[in-house]
């Protein structure tokens, strides 16, 4: 929190400190994660936590290795649902955000419905999902879409509505059409916030796929968790959860990285005291 150093670093520091900092940055998350895992392992060992309550990381990892042929296809199924649901959900979310941003009447009409769609517990209406979308991949995708689109709507609408009016005026002065104003000003301006919504969305997409699988599935990590629980196979359950977490974090990091790529002008981190 050494604020006094913030933003000082514009003219660059010496290469060596930069390199050291870079290394620390690169390995810190891994180190911290390792520490967490070790703490967990020790807690389980020292407190004699029973495996069926909370398996030790070592047990989970061994199980992942051993049950890999079983876990892999289920992981791929869930990954597929997650990605399809995320793609459709972010698209729908963004389109709704457009409607909301361009019309306060639509905002007033749509927002209650959108929020309502969130407040309905998806599992509680599972039979409807199955009735409407059958047993295939679609009910899972629909649940995922329902979870994903909401944060995208809220953040994108916020971003699209917060454009500097002078920039809009500039384009209006040459009679730019709404599409040009959108593509040249609104969209790039809103991009960071759209990306924030997508980051929330991708994390929720994983949960959506799992919940979708609980509605009715016979494969996927969500189903595997349900099955493992019925078998009191807590280790398998946690192995599946671990893979879910891996999917979630990897996809999140990917979305984040793509976000940084498409907003190169936002590189300046004004808050960072250097380490």
């Amino acid at each position: 929190m050494a604020e006094s150093d913030l933003t000082m670093a514009r003219p660059a520091g010496t290469p060596t400190t930069q390199q050291v900092t870079g290394v620390v940055r690169a390995i810190a998350p891994a180190v911290f994660l390792a520490l967490c895992v070790v703490a967990w392992q020790l807690a389980v060992l020292l407190l004699h936590v029973r495996t069926f309550v909370l398996p030790a990381p070592s047990v989970i990892i061994l199980r992942i290795v051993r049950s890999w042929p079983q876990l892999l296809p289920n992981t791929l199924v869930t990954l597929q649902e997650t990605l399809i649901g995320f793609a459709i959900g972010s698209l729908i979310g963004f389109l709704l955000a457009l409607l909301i941003a361009y019309s306060s009447l639509l905002e007033r009409i749509l927002y209650p419905l959108i929020v309502a769609s969130q407040a309905v517990p998806k599992i509680a209406v599972a039979p409807l999902f199955i009735l409407w979308f059958g047993f295939g991949i679609w009910p899972k995708v629909v649940v995922t879409v329902l979870l994903v689109f909401f944060p995208v709507v809220v953040t994108s609408a916020e971003g699209l509505m917060s454009v500097d009016p002078n920039l809009i005026d500039l384009l209006r002065s040459v009679n730019a059409n709404p599409w040009q104003i959108f593509i040249k000003v609104r969209l790039p301006h809103a991009l960071p916030q759209v990306l924030a919504g997508l980051k929330i969305g991708i994390a929720l997409a994983v949960v959506g796929a799992v919940v979708g699988e609980w509605v009715g599935a016979d494969k996927g990590l969500g189903y595997l968790i349900l099955f493992a629980n019925s078998q009191l196979d807590t280790t398998l359950s946690f192995a599946s959860i671990t893979l879910l977490v891996v999917i979630g974090v990897v996809l999140f990091v990917a979305v984040d990285a793509i976000g940084r790529l498409v907003t190169p002008w936002k590189r300046v981190r004004t808050l960072d005291p250097g380490l």
Partner: protein, 332 residues
């Protein structure tokens, strides 16, 4: 998916005898477990094919969902707790049962011995008021919850003296960690729980006079009316499979895994040995090839329906006149 057919290549030749087999979906009562081995066994042996049947077995999230989905036509027939089927009937869902899988009340209260006094532990048929002051872990989405509530009513227990908390199925962890003192469930799972180091006292509700059916086969009257032959053959083949499973329990796991590769890449996925299928054997009426299986007795049927009334799930009994039929089972 969890449905049969495709891997049974060794049996396709026999299907030629009847042209295209009849395809229909069978929604099971829960995720796959040892108790469902016979269906997959029959698939594996090609017995359904030989009977010109192509059943698609679906795992489920519980009897209630099975009843709803069969009721609205999303699945053709179902396997569900009889109370759930009767409850569906009471809620206006058009359903008819055509066979009972488990003829006996499978529900028991499993109490942790450690919360009982040595005397209570020693009793063969414990007095029911030992439940007072204990915490009941209720899985309210399951039928045992209804059995339990009816039991409380039938035995005139003071429900306010038993603490009730809801837990997610199966509730074993909560038992093992001492968060709850007893649960209501099928007593077949008791060995699993004891295997976790939780010594149990088992109250079989049947021992206290609670007569009721367990799982039954059902569908909508409409489907039943147009699929009489299918049902007849399905029941016959399934009975054969149950008999066979009883005699060759060790083959079961492999079979389950063949048909359910998503959950079962190796045999250890099913934690319990299929030997435990034997635990379900007492629930079956006749495990001899010569005698009929699945017969529905109207007295027990009504007793099962009464549970709903006793448990306060319904305020009046539904009309049971067309609620079941034995016409697809010869010899009932």
């Amino acid at each position: 998916g969890a449905s049969g057919g495709s891997p049974a290549s060794n049996t396709t030749s026999s299907s030629s005898s009847c042209g295209t087999p009849v395809r229909f979906t069978v929604r099971l009562n829960y995720v796959l477990d040892d108790e469902q081995v016979p269906y997959f066994y029959a698939l594996d042996k090609g017995w359904y094919r030989q009977a010109c049947l192509d059943p698609q077995f679906q795992a489920s999230t519980g009897s209630t969902s099975t009843v709803q989905l069969v009721g609205n036509g999303s699945a053709d027939m179902g396997v569900a707790d009889t109370v759930a089927v009767l409850n569906g009937l009471a809620q206006g869902i058009d359903l008819q049962a055509f066979g009972v899988v488990y003829q006996h009340n499978p529900t028991a209260l499993l109490i942790r011995k450690s919360v009982l006094t040595p005397e209570q532990q020693a009793e063969t048929k414990p007095s029911k008021d030992i439940l007072y002051g204990k915490t009941y872990g209720a899985v309210i989405s399951g039928s045992p919850f209804i059995f339990y509530k009816a039991f409380v009513k039938e035995q005139n227990l003071d429900a306010s003296r038993i603490r009730q908390v809801n837990i997610s199925p199966p509730g074993f962890t909560e038992m093992a960690t001492g968060k709850v003192d007893f649960i209501a469930t099928f007593y077949q799972v008791a060995p699993v729980l004891e295997g976790l180091g939780v010594p149990l006292k088992i109250f079989k509700l049947e021992d206290y006079g609670q007569k009721a059916y367990g799982l039954s086969y059902f569908s909508t009257p409409k489907w039943i009316a147009s699929h009489g032959e299918v049902i007849k053959k399905f029941l016959a083949v399934t009975k054969r499979a149950i008999d066979y499973t009883n005699q060759h329990p060790d083959e079961g796991v492999r079979t389950l895994c063949t048909y359910n590769q998503s959950i079962c890449a190796n045999d250890t996925s099913f934690k319990t040995n299929v030997e435990e299928f034997k635990l379900y054997v007492p629930l079956y009426p006749n495990l001899t090839p010569s005698k009929p299986m699945f017969c529905i007795n109207s007295t027990t049927w009504k007793a099962t329906a009464r549970l709903l009334l006793d448990a306060g799930v319904v305020s009046s009994l539904p009309d049971l006149s067309n609620s079941f039929t034995n016409r697809f089972i010869s010899g009932c």
